[in-house]
Symmetry: C3
Subunit: 292 residues, 3 copies
């Protein structure tokens, strides 16, 4: 797991907890409890529970369990699983995420299922599988949000991501059908990143968004670049939204952000970022993150 | 602790969670947090908390703590304790339990207290003690379900089990008085098992059941046998109920089941079982269980 | 963490859980989950979560996280922090605490913030810092009970404690401003302890209490002494209250207690104590406490 703490800032009238303070202490303690054993044939069987504290939480409960099986290049999960689109081994779907809290406004604005770090929906059970060979990774997931059949008006969500990483190049493509169990909420993405040299890398991600409440979210296109020298890394991005339903209101079709990280060694990093959102608000945070 | 996952099936109209799906993903992650220390005289003092996820749970809380003391052949618990009848060191009281979820319809149909793996009754506090010498194990427990005296209409439950294991033979006898704190809900059992050779063992358990809502549950008699060859084990049982109050409705006085286990090594087992219940329903499950 | 269990007794009509039993099983299991890492420059960054079971609890949740930084003589916390007055490195503010449950009626009767071992107020966030040099320890804390600014009618609490320990002498002084976020609820204390020889030590603590509901709690003066021989320790105290608002009702201006501890080695201690309270009630407990 990891811990992180620092300061957050927003120019909006209300902070993320709904209070009026424009600054707040940013906090997370993530504890992964993973236990596994390996059979005589070399198949690893494991189970995972997460206890995660975030600022605004009054206590911590263990989340719904995840079970996994691993054998050579193959890896699968059952229970409270990740999804192909959310796991996205290539890292391109979430490529604009920077700073202490891994926030990026180039992220998809659509709904889709993901691993639940906190108490969740016991009736939502899924499968996730991943296979990697020669730099190609194929990930697939299937989530049934009415596993026990209580007659809910939900669809099964499917997701598929294929990515390829070789030397300086990373490319990825993925899709979700019936994202978050909503009929017709289909999403797909295409992305590529190239490391020009040891110091510079740059990339582009295009997301064809899904629907929310019958409104088309259009598309999100983001470009991003990272400059690294020694322990210091600087990442900047610009994201552009387009083709969305006229009933949706954005102050601005563009968001952008810049973030920096400084490695203190021993798994400790100083991280900070400033963003400008589609609502023309400024969001910033800085602090320290440490792995354990 | 351990993890287990697989598939469950029922022919009944509703599955155990109350939904209409006849199949479901069977899940459990059991995490025992045990901490202990040993005094200079060699007495071990410890405390235990359990975090257990089962399918249908939306989150996991730590359960009520148990404290234990161990010294040579003597072992005692206080707090959220096991009971003599539920612990049953001989294994004969629960001898028909098979498969992924340790289910057996030869189990007692009566109510009695047991260790609580989840959030429980803070007003229920008990003592449990065990002493083993020359193959004889004596277990006793005492549970007060109104420990703090809020004037509840409950009785104290007492339980005693004596068992003997020597070479191929295991015999056991036990009793519960005021099971689950219900006045007059007394239960007793007698059982014996014999290993004919390295491959075959067979046994019989007779349970004189208690009362529920003033109705006598009669008796439960079960026979069972296990065949083991290498990593494979097969167990079958037949259970017969008798002498119960006419107001109780069973489709059938007999239940039975057969289960198999296959040891993959490293603490990993494949397990499966099929049962026919007193309600003439079929219940089955199969999956993998791994210790950690 | 540690575990402790034993028996409690009160002469009052109701026990601490509100039931009528005069005796009860005293229980606590405290599990501290601490994870930390050290940067290349030698700064330690860590996070802590606590899971604590006490008698009367029906389940256990993880508490709000605490983050800490440590570098040479300097130590700081952010999040769910301790406070200077509650941490009180000198031990003089809580000097009358004895027995299995560390109870002392010479404790301050005022309200002030402290580390929360259970689920707590997510809107209360603080800072705590400690610096030790040449036997002098300075501790300071600042707690904002409306961190996110929901417009609550509360004040920020500040606390400062300075203590000095050298050879047989320990002295300490501390203060709290706006204790527990209550405007004008200021508390201060002065204390000193002296070890006359290897066997005897004695001390005095004077607390100028704060206010509750506009009523002045006056002062609390306590004297205490400890006699130690080998594995056995005996501590006694007398506490006297004075100058409190006439609207407050106490049966008696004096409370006192005597406790004993016996070290069994391996982190295991037998502990017991008897107290007479300001309400002229007798409170007693005895049991075993073990560190892990």
């Amino acid at each position: 797991g990891y811990g992180r703490f620092g300061l957050g800032y927003t120019s909006a009238d209300l902070n993320p907890t709904g209070g009026e303070s424009s600054t707040w202490v940013e906090q997370r303690m993530r504890l992964n409890i993973v236990a596994s054993t390996t059979s005589d044939m070399g198949v690893e069987f494991g189970a995972k529970m997460r206890m995660q504290y975030d600022d605004g939480d009054s206590a911590v409960a263990g989340n719904r369990a995840q079970f996994f099986v691993s054998y050579e290049g193959f890896y699968a999960q059952v229970g409270n699983v990740t999804t192909a689109i959310d796991e996205d081994t290539s890292g391109l779907f979430y490529a604009t995420e920077i700073g202490l809290t891994d926030t990026g406004f180039g992220d998809s604005r659509s709904d889709f299922f993901a691993y639940e770090s906190k108490a969740g929906n016991a009736n939502k059970i899924g499968l996730y599988g991943k296979y990697t060979i020669s730099g190609v990774t194929v990930e697939a997931s299937y989530i049934n949000p009415d596993h026990y059949d209580f007659g809910l008006a939900v669809e099964d969500e499917s997701s598929l991501v294929v990515s390829y990483a070789a030397g300086p190049l990373t490319v990825g493509a993925g899709a979700v059908w019936n994202g978050a169990g909503i009929d017709g909420n289909d999403i797909w993405y295409l992305g590529g990143k190239y490391a020009i040299n040891d110091m510079f890398s740059a990339g582009l991600t295009y997301i064809d968004e899904g629907e929310v409440a019958g409104l088309d979210l259009g598309s999100t296109t983001s470009i991003y670049g990272t400059y690294t020298v020694g322990a210091l890394g600087v990442t900047a991005y610009v994201a552009q939204i387009d083709d969305y339903d006229a009933a949706l209101v954005y102050e601005n079709d563009t968001s952008y952000g810049v973030g920096a990280s400084y490695d203190l060694g021993g798994g400790v990093k100083l991280l900070g970022a400033v963003h400008s959102t589609y609502d023309d608000e400024t969001y910033a945070e800085a602090g320290v993150k440490f792995a354990f």
